[in-house]
């Protein structure tokens, strides 16, 4: 079975632009979460979606938004990009999204802001 897939793998943008990152969960998984991993740090939680509804939001500005589609895939959007948004963006999926369910991660999208 395919794992979590993310696209694109790498992306270079300039300050002020906007970006859309995409994620396809493991088949049968209904929950998708997004994390930001800045170089040298652990991932930080951005959003969780389950059955197309937002279940959780981390401490990120409103420039960050996300949505989940009927097929459970998800998009993360970031507007007005800042240099500090340069990071590895990770998507994770799980079956129900409850806290005892392990999450399975994709390989991430490496976003570089110039």
């Amino acid at each position: 079975d395919a794992g979590v897939t993310q696209s694109p793998t790498h992306l270079i943008k300039t300050r002020g632009q906007h970006v859309t990152l995409r994620c396809s969960p493991i088949s049968g998984h209904k929950s998708v979460s997004w994390y930001q991993q800045v170089l040298g740090q652990g991932p930080q939680f951005i959003f969780q979606y389950y059955e197309k509804e937002e279940r959780g939001r981390g401490n990120f500005p409103d420039r960050f938004s996300a949505r989940q589609f009927p097929n459970y895939s998800s998009e993360l959007n970031v507007n007005a990009l800042l240099l500090g948004d340069s990071a590895l963006y990770l998507c994770a999926s799980s079956t129900t999204g409850f806290d005892n369910q392990p999450q399975h991660f994709g390989d991430g999208t490496r976003l570089s802001i110039l």
Partner: protein, 115 residues
């Protein structure tokens, strides 16, 4: 609030010797705890999970971890290190209980394996 503290930022072992990566947690209720591994330029792979069943948890690639409530610890061990174990390891607690599975990551331990 939930949190985890990884006590070592770097650990170096020789191939064939035991591995110990230390993690303490803080939780206001019975936590779900995980260890993930991240190889360079890759995503995170789940090694093992604790969700209030057996306190000794066996994972993939020969890793195991023991949940000790009295010590609020969840240390990761492996009897014999392999070169392929060199990676960054994250101790993780699931964040808020119940309806969300927000993960809270430790700062990571970089494991080096010397030949």
């Amino acid at each position: 609030a939930q949190s985890v503290t990884q006590l070592d930022s770097h650990v170096s072992v020789s191939e064939g010797t035991p591995v110990l990566l230390r993690c303490n947690y803080s939780s206001s209720y019975s936590p779900s705890l995980f260890w993930y591994v991240q190889h360079p330029n890759k995503g995170l792979q789940l090694l093992l999970k604790y969700t209030s069943a057996a306190t000794l948890v066996k994972g993939i690639n020969g890793f195991e971890a023991e949940f000790k409530k009295s010590e609020t610890s969840f240390h990761l061990t492996k009897p014999s290190a392999h070169m392929s174990d060199a990676a960054e390891y994250f101790c993780v607690v699931s964040g808020s209980g119940g309806a969300t599975n927000k993960l809270i990551f430790g700062t990571g331990t970089l494991l080096a394996v010397q030949p």
